[in-house]
Protein backbone atom coordinates (compact mmCIF):
# COMPACT_ATOMS: atom_id res chain seq x y z
CA UNK A 1 0.00 0.00 0.00
CA UNK A 2 2.79 2.38 0.89
CA UNK A 3 4.66 2.24 -2.40
CA UNK A 4 1.93 3.61 -4.70
CA UNK A 5 1.21 6.45 -2.30
CA UNK A 6 4.84 7.48 -2.29
CA UNK A 7 4.93 7.34 -6.07
CA UNK A 8 1.86 9.52 -6.30
CA UNK A 9 3.31 11.98 -3.84
CA UNK A 10 6.52 12.12 -5.75
CA UNK A 11 4.70 12.73 -8.99
CA UNK A 12 2.57 15.36 -7.36
CA UNK A 13 5.52 17.15 -5.83
CA UNK A 14 7.40 17.17 -9.15
CA UNK A 15 4.22 18.35 -10.80
CA UNK A 16 3.99 21.27 -8.45
CA UNK A 17 7.62 22.31 -8.61
CA UNK A 18 7.37 23.44 -12.21
CA UNK A 19 5.54 26.67 -11.52
CA UNK A 20 7.72 27.96 -8.67
CA UNK A 21 10.77 26.94 -10.66
CA UNK A 22 9.58 28.82 -13.73
CA UNK A 23 8.75 31.79 -11.55
CA UNK A 24 12.23 31.74 -10.09
CA UNK A 25 13.92 31.42 -13.47
CA UNK A 26 11.85 34.28 -14.87
CA UNK A 27 12.88 36.59 -12.03
CA UNK A 28 16.60 35.87 -12.47
CA UNK A 29 17.31 38.42 -15.25
CA UNK A 30 15.38 41.05 -13.31
CA UNK A 31 17.22 40.21 -10.10
CA UNK A 32 20.52 40.41 -11.97
CA UNK A 33 19.67 43.81 -13.46
CA UNK A 34 18.43 45.09 -10.11
CA UNK A 35 21.55 43.91 -8.30
CA UNK A 36 23.69 45.67 -10.89
CA UNK A 37 21.58 48.84 -10.74
CA UNK A 38 21.93 49.04 -6.95
CA UNK A 39 25.62 48.07 -6.96
CA UNK A 40 24.99 44.95 -4.90
CA UNK A 41 28.24 43.10 -4.16
CA UNK A 42 30.25 45.44 -6.32
CA UNK A 43 28.16 44.73 -9.42
CA UNK A 44 27.36 47.50 -11.82
CA UNK A 45 25.45 48.21 -15.01
CA UNK A 46 28.70 49.33 -16.61
CA UNK A 47 29.72 52.59 -18.26
CA UNK A 48 26.26 53.19 -19.76
CA UNK A 49 23.83 52.06 -17.06
CA UNK A 50 20.69 53.44 -18.71
CA UNK A 51 21.38 51.61 -21.93
CA UNK A 52 22.27 48.40 -20.07
CA UNK A 53 19.00 48.54 -18.15
CA UNK A 54 16.77 49.38 -21.12
CA UNK A 55 18.40 46.82 -23.40
CA UNK A 56 18.49 44.17 -20.68
CA UNK A 57 14.78 44.52 -19.92
CA UNK A 58 13.84 44.69 -23.59
CA UNK A 59 15.91 41.68 -24.60
CA UNK A 60 14.52 39.52 -21.81
CA UNK A 61 10.99 40.69 -22.47
CA UNK A 62 11.30 39.65 -26.11
CA UNK A 63 12.97 36.36 -25.25
CA UNK A 64 10.25 35.52 -22.74
CA UNK A 65 7.57 36.43 -25.26
CA UNK A 66 9.11 34.04 -27.78
CA UNK A 67 9.49 31.37 -25.08
CA UNK A 68 5.78 31.82 -24.37
CA UNK A 69 5.09 31.09 -28.04
CA UNK A 70 7.23 27.95 -27.78
CA UNK A 71 5.08 26.45 -25.04
CA UNK A 72 2.35 24.88 -27.12
CA UNK A 73 4.64 23.45 -29.83
CA UNK A 74 6.86 21.99 -27.10
CA UNK A 75 3.87 20.60 -25.20
CA UNK A 76 2.62 18.88 -28.36
CA UNK A 77 5.96 17.70 -29.69
CA UNK A 78 7.20 16.44 -26.33
CA UNK A 79 3.75 15.12 -25.38
CA UNK A 80 3.92 17.13 -22.16
CA UNK A 81 0.52 18.83 -21.88
CA UNK A 82 1.48 19.99 -18.39
CA UNK A 83 3.80 22.56 -19.94
CA UNK A 84 0.68 24.50 -20.85
CA UNK A 85 0.27 25.35 -17.19
CA UNK A 86 3.35 27.55 -17.43
CA UNK A 87 2.26 29.58 -20.40
CA UNK A 88 0.28 32.25 -18.59
CA UNK A 89 3.08 32.90 -16.13
CA UNK A 90 5.65 33.16 -18.94
CA UNK A 91 3.42 35.54 -20.87
CA UNK A 92 2.85 37.73 -17.83
CA UNK A 93 6.56 37.81 -17.10
CA UNK A 94 7.25 38.83 -20.70
CA UNK A 95 4.67 41.60 -20.31
CA UNK A 96 6.21 42.71 -17.00
CA UNK A 97 9.70 42.95 -18.50
CA UNK A 98 8.36 44.87 -21.49
CA UNK A 99 6.45 47.32 -19.31
CA UNK A 100 9.61 47.86 -17.26
CA UNK A 101 11.54 48.23 -20.53
CA UNK A 102 9.17 50.99 -21.60
CA UNK A 103 9.19 52.62 -18.15
CA UNK A 104 12.98 52.60 -17.90
CA UNK A 105 13.09 54.40 -21.24
CA UNK A 106 10.33 56.88 -20.37
CA UNK A 107 11.20 57.53 -16.73
CA UNK A 108 14.98 57.22 -16.64
CA UNK A 109 16.21 57.93 -20.15
CA UNK A 110 13.60 60.51 -21.11
CA UNK A 111 12.99 61.84 -17.57
CA UNK A 112 9.17 61.62 -17.84
CA UNK A 113 9.14 64.06 -20.73
CA UNK A 114 5.78 63.10 -22.18
CA UNK A 115 5.83 65.93 -24.73
CA UNK A 116 9.22 64.62 -25.86
CA UNK A 117 8.40 60.94 -26.25
CA UNK A 118 5.09 61.36 -28.10
CA UNK A 119 6.74 62.61 -31.32
CA UNK A 120 9.32 59.83 -30.97
CA UNK A 121 6.59 57.22 -30.67
CA UNK A 122 4.81 58.73 -33.66
CA UNK A 123 7.69 59.27 -36.06
CA UNK A 124 10.51 56.87 -35.19
CA UNK A 125 9.47 53.60 -36.78
CA UNK A 126 11.32 51.33 -34.37
CA UNK A 127 9.71 53.09 -31.41
CA UNK A 128 6.29 53.13 -33.09
CA UNK A 129 6.56 49.41 -33.70
CA UNK A 130 7.81 48.60 -30.20
CA UNK A 131 5.19 50.73 -28.53
CA UNK A 132 2.44 49.17 -30.65
CA UNK A 133 3.65 45.72 -29.61
CA UNK A 134 3.42 46.73 -25.96
CA UNK A 135 -0.09 48.16 -26.43
CA UNK A 136 -1.21 44.92 -28.10
CA UNK A 137 -0.09 43.00 -25.04
CA UNK A 138 -2.06 45.14 -22.57
CA UNK A 139 -5.50 43.56 -23.22
CA UNK A 140 -3.90 40.13 -23.12
CA UNK A 141 -2.41 40.78 -19.70
CA UNK A 142 -5.69 42.21 -18.46
CA UNK A 143 -7.72 39.22 -19.69
CA UNK A 144 -5.24 36.65 -18.48
CA UNK A 145 -7.27 35.71 -15.41
CA UNK A 146 -9.54 32.66 -15.16
CA UNK A 147 -12.51 34.95 -14.75
CA UNK A 148 -11.81 36.77 -17.99
CA UNK A 149 -11.23 33.48 -19.78
CA UNK A 150 -14.65 32.27 -18.67
CA UNK A 151 -16.30 35.57 -19.44
CA UNK A 152 -14.89 35.80 -22.96
CA UNK A 153 -15.27 32.12 -23.82
CA UNK A 154 -14.22 31.40 -27.40
CA UNK A 155 -13.51 35.08 -28.03
CA UNK A 156 -10.66 34.81 -25.50
CA UNK A 157 -8.69 32.67 -27.96
CA UNK A 158 -9.39 35.07 -30.79
CA UNK A 159 -8.28 38.01 -28.67
CA UNK A 160 -5.11 36.28 -27.53
CA UNK A 161 -3.97 35.76 -31.11
CA UNK A 162 -2.78 39.36 -30.74
CA UNK A 163 0.32 37.85 -29.21
CA UNK A 164 1.51 36.94 -32.73
CA UNK A 165 1.60 40.47 -34.17
CA UNK A 166 3.00 41.68 -30.84
CA UNK A 167 5.89 39.22 -31.02
CA UNK A 168 6.53 40.03 -34.68
CA UNK A 169 6.56 43.77 -33.97
CA UNK A 170 8.86 43.12 -31.01
CA UNK A 171 11.35 41.36 -33.29
CA UNK A 172 11.10 44.19 -35.84
CA UNK A 173 11.61 46.76 -33.09
CA UNK A 174 14.89 45.03 -32.20
CA UNK A 175 15.96 44.52 -35.81
CA UNK A 176 15.23 48.16 -36.58
CA UNK A 177 17.38 49.61 -33.85
CA UNK A 178 20.61 47.71 -34.44
CA UNK A 179 23.21 49.51 -36.49
CA UNK A 180 24.66 46.72 -38.57
CA UNK A 181 24.81 43.49 -36.61
CA UNK A 182 21.38 41.97 -37.28
CA UNK A 183 22.32 38.47 -36.16
CA UNK A 184 20.49 38.35 -32.82
CA UNK A 185 17.24 39.99 -34.01
CA UNK A 186 17.39 37.83 -37.15
CA UNK A 187 17.65 34.74 -34.96
CA UNK A 188 14.50 35.79 -33.11
CA UNK A 189 12.70 36.47 -36.39
CA UNK A 190 13.65 33.02 -37.64
CA UNK A 191 12.39 31.46 -34.42
CA UNK A 192 9.16 33.42 -34.72
CA UNK A 193 8.75 32.28 -38.33
CA UNK A 194 9.37 28.64 -37.40
CA UNK A 195 6.83 28.86 -34.57
CA UNK A 196 4.25 30.40 -36.87
CA UNK A 197 5.00 27.83 -39.54
CA UNK A 198 4.35 25.07 -37.03
CA UNK A 199 1.03 26.63 -36.10
CA UNK A 200 0.12 26.96 -39.76
CA UNK A 201 0.75 23.28 -40.28
CA UNK A 202 -1.34 22.39 -37.22
CA UNK A 203 -4.35 24.27 -38.51
CA UNK A 204 -5.75 21.98 -41.24
CA UNK A 205 -5.27 18.92 -39.05
CA UNK A 206 -7.47 20.46 -36.40
CA UNK A 207 -10.09 21.26 -38.98
CA UNK A 208 -10.01 17.67 -40.15
CA UNK A 209 -11.05 16.67 -36.68
CA UNK A 210 -7.75 15.28 -35.40
CA UNK A 211 -7.63 17.88 -32.66
CA UNK A 212 -4.46 17.91 -30.59
CA UNK A 213 -4.77 16.24 -27.25
CA UNK A 214 -4.37 19.56 -25.54
CA UNK A 215 -7.41 21.45 -24.43
CA UNK A 216 -6.22 25.09 -24.37
CA UNK A 217 -6.09 26.24 -27.96
CA UNK A 218 -5.20 29.45 -29.66
CA UNK A 219 -1.83 30.82 -28.65
Amino acid sequence: MAAPVTATRRATSRFRADKPLTFLLCTLPLAWLTARAFAVAGLSLGPNPVEALIHGLGSWGLRLLLITLCVRPLAVLLRQPRLMRLRRMLGLFAFTYLVLHFLSWFVIDRALDLAGILPDIAKRPYITVGFTALLLLVPLAVTSTDRWMRRLGRRWHTLHRLVYPAALLGCLHFLWLVKADWREPALYLVLFTVLMGWRWRQRPRRRAGIAPALSPRGA
Binding site: A37, L45, G46, P47, N48, P49, V50, E51, L53, I108, D109, R110, A111, D120, R124, P125, Y126, W176, L177, K179, A180, D181, R183
Partner: protein, 315 residues
Protein backbone atom coordinates in the same frame (compact mmCIF):
# COMPACT_ATOMS: atom_id res chain seq x y z
CA UNK B 1 52.02 76.88 -1.68
CA UNK B 2 53.86 73.64 -2.32
CA UNK B 3 54.84 71.72 0.79
CA UNK B 4 58.14 70.05 1.37
CA UNK B 5 58.19 66.74 -0.42
CA UNK B 6 58.44 63.72 1.82
CA UNK B 7 59.88 61.02 -0.43
CA UNK B 8 57.90 58.35 1.36
CA UNK B 9 54.63 60.05 0.46
CA UNK B 10 54.13 60.69 -3.20
CA UNK B 11 52.81 64.00 -4.36
CA UNK B 12 49.29 63.93 -5.77
CA UNK B 13 50.79 64.65 -9.17
CA UNK B 14 52.74 61.44 -8.94
CA UNK B 15 49.69 59.29 -8.45
CA UNK B 16 47.54 60.81 -11.17
CA UNK B 17 46.73 58.28 -13.86
CA UNK B 18 48.55 60.20 -16.53
CA UNK B 19 52.24 60.74 -16.09
CA UNK B 20 52.87 64.09 -17.58
CA UNK B 21 56.37 65.38 -17.12
CA UNK B 22 58.61 63.09 -19.07
CA UNK B 23 61.13 64.33 -21.54
CA UNK B 24 61.11 63.53 -25.17
CA UNK B 25 64.01 61.14 -25.18
CA UNK B 26 62.24 58.93 -22.69
CA UNK B 27 59.19 58.58 -24.86
CA UNK B 28 61.25 57.68 -27.91
CA UNK B 29 63.04 55.12 -25.78
CA UNK B 30 59.80 53.70 -24.47
CA UNK B 31 58.33 53.51 -27.95
CA UNK B 32 61.42 51.73 -29.18
CA UNK B 33 61.30 49.44 -26.17
CA UNK B 34 57.66 48.73 -26.91
CA UNK B 35 58.66 47.64 -30.38
CA UNK B 36 60.89 45.02 -28.84
CA UNK B 37 58.63 44.15 -25.94
CA UNK B 38 55.68 43.73 -28.26
CA UNK B 39 57.39 40.78 -29.88
CA UNK B 40 57.21 38.71 -26.71
CA UNK B 41 54.15 36.49 -26.50
CA UNK B 42 53.46 37.34 -22.85
CA UNK B 43 53.10 41.03 -23.52
CA UNK B 44 51.36 40.80 -26.87
CA UNK B 45 48.12 42.71 -26.75
CA UNK B 46 48.45 44.09 -23.28
CA UNK B 47 51.72 45.93 -23.92
CA UNK B 48 51.41 49.52 -22.85
CA UNK B 49 54.07 52.08 -22.22
CA UNK B 50 54.14 55.54 -20.74
CA UNK B 51 54.38 58.31 -23.23
CA UNK B 52 56.13 61.60 -22.94
CA UNK B 53 53.94 64.49 -23.88
CA UNK B 54 53.01 68.05 -23.08
CA UNK B 55 49.54 69.13 -22.13
CA UNK B 56 47.71 71.38 -24.50
CA UNK B 57 45.28 73.29 -22.29
CA UNK B 58 44.23 75.66 -25.09
CA UNK B 59 42.78 72.78 -27.07
CA UNK B 60 41.51 70.80 -24.07
CA UNK B 61 38.09 70.80 -22.51
CA UNK B 62 37.56 71.97 -18.98
CA UNK B 63 35.49 68.86 -18.28
CA UNK B 64 36.64 65.92 -16.22
CA UNK B 65 37.71 63.05 -18.45
CA UNK B 66 35.95 59.70 -18.25
CA UNK B 67 37.72 57.05 -16.25
CA UNK B 68 40.28 54.87 -17.98
CA UNK B 69 37.97 51.95 -17.31
CA UNK B 70 35.02 53.58 -19.09
CA UNK B 71 37.19 54.56 -22.04
CA UNK B 72 38.71 51.10 -22.39
CA UNK B 73 35.65 48.91 -21.74
CA UNK B 74 32.91 50.73 -23.64
CA UNK B 75 34.03 50.72 -27.24
CA UNK B 76 32.65 50.51 -30.72
CA UNK B 77 35.35 48.64 -32.58
CA UNK B 78 33.40 46.14 -34.66
CA UNK B 79 36.58 44.42 -35.78
CA UNK B 80 36.56 42.84 -32.33
CA UNK B 81 32.79 42.34 -32.02
CA UNK B 82 29.68 44.46 -31.90
CA UNK B 83 29.03 44.46 -28.14
CA UNK B 84 30.51 47.40 -26.28
CA UNK B 85 32.67 45.14 -24.11
CA UNK B 86 33.83 42.93 -27.00
CA UNK B 87 36.83 45.07 -27.94
CA UNK B 88 38.22 44.95 -24.40
CA UNK B 89 37.57 41.21 -24.11
CA UNK B 90 38.50 40.05 -27.57
CA UNK B 91 41.48 42.19 -28.56
CA UNK B 92 44.09 40.40 -26.45
CA UNK B 93 45.58 38.53 -29.41
CA UNK B 94 45.97 41.66 -31.47
CA UNK B 95 49.57 42.70 -32.17
CA UNK B 96 50.07 46.41 -32.57
CA UNK B 97 53.80 45.88 -33.14
CA UNK B 98 55.58 45.66 -35.49
CA UNK B 99 53.51 48.05 -37.54
CA UNK B 100 53.86 49.76 -40.88
CA UNK B 101 51.75 52.39 -42.59
CA UNK B 102 51.53 52.71 -46.36
CA UNK B 103 51.36 56.25 -47.70
CA UNK B 104 50.13 56.50 -51.26
CA UNK B 105 48.32 58.61 -53.82
CA UNK B 106 48.66 62.26 -54.68
CA UNK B 107 51.85 63.14 -52.84
CA UNK B 108 55.54 63.56 -53.65
CA UNK B 109 56.79 61.15 -51.02
CA UNK B 110 54.96 57.87 -50.82
CA UNK B 111 55.93 54.45 -49.54
CA UNK B 112 55.62 52.12 -46.61
CA UNK B 113 56.93 53.41 -43.30
CA UNK B 114 57.80 51.80 -40.01
CA UNK B 115 55.61 53.21 -37.27
CA UNK B 116 58.57 54.57 -35.31
CA UNK B 117 59.87 56.41 -38.39
CA UNK B 118 56.44 57.84 -38.89
CA UNK B 119 56.07 59.07 -35.33
CA UNK B 120 59.64 60.12 -34.53
CA UNK B 121 59.54 63.78 -35.66
CA UNK B 122 56.32 64.57 -33.80
CA UNK B 123 56.14 65.96 -30.29
CA UNK B 124 53.21 64.44 -28.47
CA UNK B 125 50.59 66.47 -26.72
CA UNK B 126 47.67 65.62 -24.51
CA UNK B 127 44.34 67.01 -25.57
CA UNK B 128 41.14 66.42 -23.66
CA UNK B 129 38.45 66.09 -26.30
CA UNK B 130 34.77 65.32 -26.24
CA UNK B 131 33.83 62.19 -28.19
CA UNK B 132 30.27 62.04 -29.50
CA UNK B 133 29.11 58.70 -30.87
CA UNK B 134 26.46 58.60 -33.58
CA UNK B 135 24.52 56.37 -31.14
CA UNK B 136 23.87 59.47 -28.98
CA UNK B 137 26.33 58.89 -26.18
CA UNK B 138 29.46 60.85 -25.36
CA UNK B 139 32.70 60.65 -23.43
CA UNK B 140 35.57 62.93 -22.54
CA UNK B 141 38.92 61.42 -23.49
CA UNK B 142 42.47 62.59 -22.71
CA UNK B 143 44.12 61.64 -25.99
CA UNK B 144 47.85 61.72 -26.57
CA UNK B 145 48.85 62.46 -30.13
CA UNK B 146 49.81 65.12 -32.63
CA UNK B 147 48.07 67.02 -35.42
CA UNK B 148 47.38 64.86 -38.47
CA UNK B 149 48.26 67.84 -40.67
CA UNK B 150 51.86 67.80 -39.40
CA UNK B 151 52.16 64.18 -40.47
CA UNK B 152 50.51 64.66 -43.85
CA UNK B 153 52.66 67.66 -44.80
CA UNK B 154 55.79 65.51 -44.57
CA UNK B 155 54.63 63.55 -47.62
CA UNK B 156 54.14 66.72 -49.66
CA UNK B 157 50.63 66.21 -51.01
CA UNK B 158 50.17 67.77 -54.45
CA UNK B 159 47.38 70.01 -55.73
CA UNK B 160 45.24 67.02 -56.72
CA UNK B 161 45.14 65.82 -53.12
CA UNK B 162 41.61 66.93 -52.28
CA UNK B 163 40.85 64.15 -49.85
CA UNK B 164 42.64 61.78 -47.52
CA UNK B 165 41.53 58.15 -47.29
CA UNK B 166 42.36 55.84 -44.39
CA UNK B 167 42.23 52.08 -44.01
CA UNK B 168 42.19 49.83 -40.95
CA UNK B 169 44.28 46.68 -40.80
CA UNK B 170 42.58 43.47 -42.02
CA UNK B 171 43.54 40.59 -39.75
CA UNK B 172 40.65 38.21 -39.12
CA UNK B 173 42.96 35.88 -37.21
CA UNK B 174 43.51 38.55 -34.56
CA UNK B 175 40.28 40.47 -35.02
CA UNK B 176 37.41 38.02 -34.54
CA UNK B 177 34.78 40.56 -35.57
CA UNK B 178 36.23 40.56 -39.09
CA UNK B 179 35.21 36.93 -39.55
CA UNK B 180 31.61 37.99 -40.13
CA UNK B 181 30.74 40.71 -42.66
CA UNK B 182 28.92 43.07 -40.31
CA UNK B 183 30.66 45.73 -42.38
CA UNK B 184 32.61 45.37 -45.61
CA UNK B 185 36.10 44.85 -44.16
CA UNK B 186 38.57 46.42 -44.01
CA UNK B 187 37.11 49.55 -42.46
CA UNK B 188 37.76 52.66 -44.51
CA UNK B 189 37.30 56.32 -43.72
CA UNK B 190 38.11 59.65 -45.27
CA UNK B 191 38.35 63.38 -44.74
CA UNK B 192 38.43 66.38 -46.99
CA UNK B 193 42.02 67.67 -47.09
CA UNK B 194 41.13 70.88 -45.21
CA UNK B 195 39.48 68.81 -42.48
CA UNK B 196 42.53 66.58 -42.33
CA UNK B 197 44.83 69.60 -42.05
CA UNK B 198 42.72 71.29 -39.38
CA UNK B 199 44.72 71.77 -36.18
CA UNK B 200 42.06 69.97 -34.12
CA UNK B 201 42.39 66.76 -36.17
CA UNK B 202 44.60 64.42 -34.25
CA UNK B 203 46.58 61.27 -34.82
CA UNK B 204 46.23 59.60 -31.42
CA UNK B 205 48.84 57.13 -30.23
CA UNK B 206 47.83 57.09 -26.59
CA UNK B 207 45.32 57.96 -23.92
CA UNK B 208 45.74 58.73 -20.26
CA UNK B 209 49.45 59.07 -20.90
CA UNK B 210 49.89 55.47 -22.04
CA UNK B 211 50.12 53.95 -25.49
CA UNK B 212 46.71 53.14 -26.95
CA UNK B 213 45.16 49.91 -25.72
CA UNK B 214 44.22 47.56 -28.56
CA UNK B 215 40.51 48.18 -28.02
CA UNK B 216 40.99 51.90 -28.60
CA UNK B 217 42.71 51.54 -31.96
CA UNK B 218 46.36 50.69 -31.31
CA UNK B 219 48.86 51.66 -32.43
CA UNK B 220 47.50 54.77 -34.13
CA UNK B 221 44.06 56.14 -34.84
CA UNK B 222 42.30 59.22 -36.05
CA UNK B 223 40.45 61.62 -33.74
CA UNK B 224 38.19 64.25 -35.30
CA UNK B 225 36.38 65.74 -32.32
CA UNK B 226 33.66 67.63 -34.20
CA UNK B 227 32.54 64.52 -36.08
CA UNK B 228 30.73 61.40 -34.93
CA UNK B 229 33.04 58.82 -33.44
CA UNK B 230 32.89 56.43 -36.39
CA UNK B 231 35.00 58.89 -38.41
CA UNK B 232 37.85 58.18 -35.98
CA UNK B 233 39.27 55.18 -37.83
CA UNK B 234 41.42 52.88 -35.72
CA UNK B 235 44.55 50.77 -36.24
CA UNK B 236 45.44 52.60 -39.45
CA UNK B 237 47.62 50.81 -42.02
CA UNK B 238 47.09 53.00 -45.04
CA UNK B 239 46.78 56.70 -45.77
CA UNK B 240 46.03 57.70 -49.33
CA UNK B 241 45.77 61.18 -50.86
CA UNK B 242 42.98 61.21 -53.43
CA UNK B 243 41.37 63.60 -55.85
CA UNK B 244 37.89 62.09 -55.48
CA UNK B 245 35.92 61.68 -52.29
CA UNK B 246 36.89 58.26 -50.94
CA UNK B 247 34.32 55.63 -49.86
CA UNK B 248 33.67 55.30 -46.14
CA UNK B 249 32.52 52.12 -44.39
CA UNK B 250 29.36 53.28 -42.64
CA UNK B 251 28.28 55.26 -45.67
CA UNK B 252 28.65 52.12 -47.79
CA UNK B 253 26.69 50.14 -45.20
CA UNK B 254 23.75 52.54 -44.86
CA UNK B 255 24.13 55.60 -47.11
CA UNK B 256 20.89 57.27 -46.00
CA UNK B 257 21.97 57.08 -42.35
CA UNK B 258 25.69 57.84 -42.39
CA UNK B 259 27.13 60.51 -44.63
CA UNK B 260 30.70 61.29 -45.61
CA UNK B 261 30.84 64.38 -43.41
CA UNK B 262 29.21 63.02 -40.25
CA UNK B 263 29.59 66.32 -38.42
CA UNK B 264 27.95 66.27 -35.02
CA UNK B 265 24.71 68.15 -35.58
CA UNK B 266 21.84 68.23 -33.07
CA UNK B 267 19.44 69.55 -35.70
CA UNK B 268 19.95 66.75 -38.21
CA UNK B 269 18.59 63.53 -36.76
CA UNK B 270 19.71 60.06 -37.58
CA UNK B 271 16.79 58.63 -39.58
CA UNK B 272 16.01 56.29 -36.69
CA UNK B 273 16.84 58.36 -33.64
CA UNK B 274 17.28 61.92 -32.45
CA UNK B 275 20.70 63.53 -32.31
CA UNK B 276 19.45 66.47 -30.23
CA UNK B 277 20.75 65.09 -26.96
CA UNK B 278 23.24 62.57 -25.67
CA UNK B 279 23.97 60.45 -22.68
CA UNK B 280 27.31 60.92 -20.97
CA UNK B 281 29.12 57.67 -20.34
CA UNK B 282 29.99 57.08 -16.70
CA UNK B 283 27.13 59.25 -15.43
CA UNK B 284 24.77 57.91 -12.79
CA UNK B 285 21.67 55.95 -13.74
CA UNK B 286 19.37 58.92 -13.17
CA UNK B 287 21.66 61.59 -14.62
CA UNK B 288 19.82 63.64 -17.25
CA UNK B 289 20.72 63.61 -20.91
CA UNK B 290 22.79 66.51 -22.19
CA UNK B 291 22.01 68.69 -25.15
CA UNK B 292 24.26 67.91 -28.08
CA UNK B 293 26.20 70.91 -29.34
CA UNK B 294 26.67 71.84 -33.00
CA UNK B 295 29.99 70.41 -34.18
CA UNK B 296 30.20 68.76 -30.75
CA UNK B 297 31.07 72.12 -29.18
CA UNK B 298 33.87 72.88 -31.65
CA UNK B 299 31.78 75.13 -33.93
CA UNK B 300 33.93 78.18 -33.28
CA UNK B 301 36.99 76.42 -34.68
CA UNK B 302 35.47 74.41 -37.52
CA UNK B 303 32.15 75.89 -38.68
CA UNK B 304 34.02 77.99 -41.28
CA UNK B 305 35.09 74.80 -43.07
CA UNK B 306 31.48 74.23 -44.07
CA UNK B 307 30.38 77.71 -45.05
CA UNK B 308 27.92 77.42 -47.93
CA UNK B 309 27.52 73.67 -47.50
CA UNK B 310 23.99 72.40 -46.84
CA UNK B 311 24.57 70.35 -43.70
CA UNK B 312 21.18 68.69 -44.04
CA UNK B 313 22.14 67.33 -47.41
CA UNK B 314 25.75 66.66 -46.47
CA UNK B 315 25.13 64.91 -43.16
Amino acid sequence: MRRRHDPARPLPSEITPSERYYNRREIMASLAALGAVGMGPASAGAASARLKFARNPQLSLNEAPNSLEDITTYNNFYEFGTEKDDPAKRSQKFRARPWTVKISGEAARTGTYELDDLLRPHALEERIYRLRCVEAWSMVVPWVGFPLGDLLKRFEPNSRAKYVAFKTVLRPSEMPGQRFPVLDWPYVEGLRIDEAMHPLTLVAVGLYGQTLPNQNGAPLRLVVPWKYGFKGIKSIVEIRFTEKQPPTSWNLSAPHEYGFYANVNPSVDHPRWSQASERRIGAALFAPRRNTLPFNGYAEQVAALYRGLDLRKHY
